[in-house]
Symmetry: C2
Subunit: 440 residues, 2 copies
């Protein structure tokens, strides 16, 4: 993409309303724009990151055997009356009346609706296990929306729902999501630690939050230091096999959120292995048995012909929140430092002298070579002073900057800068392309 | 995907509430489920088609130079008070109060919000032309939602908005979208004809609806027969060049919706070239000048330093509606016939005898070869009788059926059926794979 044809509204001033670094940087980098309290537009750069995160989530859900659907944003209140949550949910639920005075609501989560879908079609144990997920906008009318997309009201969530004949099989389903989540966050460059957690308004008796450690985290968390270095299950993980050993490895070491914290158990960890830190929740998984299937009458017949309520779990990933969480975990004073897998572009190609025939020709040919090789490139062809160009590239945090100026170019060279380390290297054009994985 | 692990809830009965064929077939093929009047869940098969249509729309928007953003579903009422449309819009607008009694609404369209984004960041003619689009769920509280996703209340729309310094440049932007739309629909296997149309509540003095002809169409349309055979602009179309010749070619022949119909002009067409038919609207484009930029104060400074309101247009594609429209245009008594580009899977692989070692081995190896070659395959490994398997495959309309039975297999053969024509051919395994573009 040529910057001159792109829409990248960089802010020079640091917005006063932004209290945390990710919110500040997302506004400054032209990633989002607030449209109402806790309601944001995603500008082109922000949307690219959001889409990449969504794609990783989707790939790992599919790998773990979950199947994608898409439920609507609006739901009928009657569905929530069946489960008893319509009155319980409180003011966070956005209640709506349509032109015929029917009660609707903007879905804050989808246990009821997916249970309705399930019971409408599935009646036999032979069709299980089943895990259906979707990535859809949700709304929670937070009393105090803040921190940008970290705690917005309209937010993008991946939520999966598993259905099994009994508790043991439901625990298998839970383990598949547990392992999928480990892979999902790591692919985004994050170390997310599963911690025993409170199940809150979803209910149920087994629950883990996936937490990344960041000094700006919203809550206090406690864990064993070795969790930070545990290996992540590989791409070849057999999700139809027994995942108990993997989950046991992760759950045998202490890790808990504030609400579930056990001082005595934590004190039993060797002092140099005790981690007490701030954390950001980026996912939450639940096993809640028949909490919804029973009142909503979602039953399947077993091999014996007897109908029993299905055992369910639900599994959330905060897709829009992750954009901010990744920035909290990966930035410096100059701006964002995107991990490769979620970077909006891989390379920022900077022309130091647009209008100079040799520089223009070199940039055009580098840009074409990179794009041809499938390396997403933002080509700054704008007529701005060098300092501003560098500041913008550092701010938006693309992994690589490829700098083309008349002096180096006269010697056949360009400069390559690694955003994460600040390392710069002057090298011949062909070598720079090779370093970036492109062919000339 | 193995059918035994998929979620494809085929209905045996024809649902009574469905009045048109696309609605009936989408329900029977397990593509959608109604959750409330005009509000649908997309089940796995339906979502796959929806995503493919979205991808084609996106590719052609990008090709034409439009840039993707994502605006939220909910909007502040204040924004619509600025343009004067809050009161005007009538009962189709879903009005909402949040917990703080602030007026929100579920966006039925986004002229106001995009104008707000534009005026916040863009102040100079140097940053134009600009065309921003998004693909997002909208809500229109139809008095009588019907025909499934053809006239739903919550629906997925692509809407683009162009900004230019003057009317002539805005017309260039209009032409780029006009040409992009011709390409978009053709790639989905449709012949969509641009017709002069009423601009309705969006306003403006230039407007075309893109209409596909189908006997079940909602409105009467009139056009010159030659429009059905005009060539579609190629992939190599230069969108930065002059597109006037292409647009002139399309607009010089008579084509109008009922509201804009001119009996005299139509009568002047040679009788054998007069087409009077039912049509389905699948897109609508508008040029409306300064209708929003003036009241909302969206101005840019020209080269002379004088600020003037920008000239705008908006460009909609009914993404969710297209799923139904394509079915209306492409089905037979047995079910859907998907055009290749939007088919949920390319191939349905049918095992005629699951459990038979030779059949299982052949199917597994064919399935692996197809998937390896990037050919999406639905592998019916279920233990159902042959008649039901064939009926299901015909119903869901995948372009190819690859049938593996013990008798043919004993001679090294499989059977390949083309859904669109019904042609069947018995041929060796390697030849069948080659026919499908796969390597063994």
């Amino acid at each position: 993409m040529r910057l001159s044809r792109y829409f990248l509204p960089i802010l020079k001033e640091t917005p006063k309303e932004a209290e945390i670094v990710s919110h500040r940087l997302m506004l400054r980098a032209g990633m989002i724009r607030q449209q109402a309290a806790g309601i944001y537009s995603w500008l082109p750069l922000g949307l690219k990151v959001l889409d990449k995160i969504g794609r990783i989530v989707r790939e790992e859900q599919n790998r773990a055997g979950a199947i994608e659907v898409l439920m609507p944003t609006l739901q009928s209140a009657d569905l929530w009356r069946e489960s008893g949550r319509y009155e319980d949910y409180g003011e966070e639920m956005l209640r709506i009346k349509d032109r015929n005075k029917r009660d609707l609501l903007y879905g804050p989560t989808n246990e009821e609706m997916i249970t309705e879908i399930f019971r409408s079609y599935v009646h036999s144990y032979k069709d299980l296990p089943l895990n259906l997920y979707h990535i859809q906008w949700k709304f929670r009318d937070e009393r105090r929306p803040r921190f940008g997309v970290m705690r917005g009201r309209e937010f993008l969530m991946k939520d999966a729902y598993s259905f099994d004949t009994d508790q043991e099989k439901a625990r298998d389903a839970y383990r598949r999501m547990f392992v999928a989540y480990l892979r999902t966050y790591r692919r985004m460059g994050l170390t997310a630690i599963p911690m025993r957690a409170d199940s809150g308004p979803i209910g149920g008796d087994m629950s883990h939050e996936f937490i990344i450690l960041a000094s700006t985290g919203e809550s206090q968390v406690f864990c064993h230091k070795d969790l930070l270095d545990l290996p992540i299950p590989g791409e070849d993980t057999d999700f139809s096999g027994d995942l108990t050993p993997i989950m046991d490895q992760w759950t045998s070491l202490y890790a808990a959120t504030d609400e579930k914290h056990d001082e005595a158990a934590f004190a039993a960890i060797p002092a140099d292995k005790q981690v007490s830190a701030r954390g950001i929740e980026v996912g939450h998984i639940f096993y809640f048995g028949t909490k919804y299937s029973e009142p909503m009458n979602a039953k399947v017949a077993g091999p014996d012909g007897v109908e029993r309520p299905v055992h369910m779990g639900s599994y959330g990933v905060g897709v829009s929140r992750l954009v901010a969480a990744i920035i909290e975990a990966s930035h410096d004073d100059a701006g964002i430092i995107w991990p490769e897998a979620v970077a909006p572009f891989q390379v920022g190609l900077i022309s130091m002298k647009p209008g100079d025939a040799a520089v223009d020709a070199a940039c055009t040919s580098l840009y074409a070579a990179l794009e041809r090789s499938g390396i997403e490139t933002l080509y700054d062809d704008s007529d701005t002073r060098a300092g501003a160009k560098f500041a913008t590239m550092d701010l938006i945090g693309l992994p690589w900057q490829l700098i083309v100026g008349p002096k180096s170019l006269a010697e056949g060279n360009v400069e390559l800068k690694r955003r994460a380390t600040g390392e710069r290297e002057v090298l011949p054009i062909a070598a720079a392309l090779a370093r970036l994985g492109a062919t000339a």
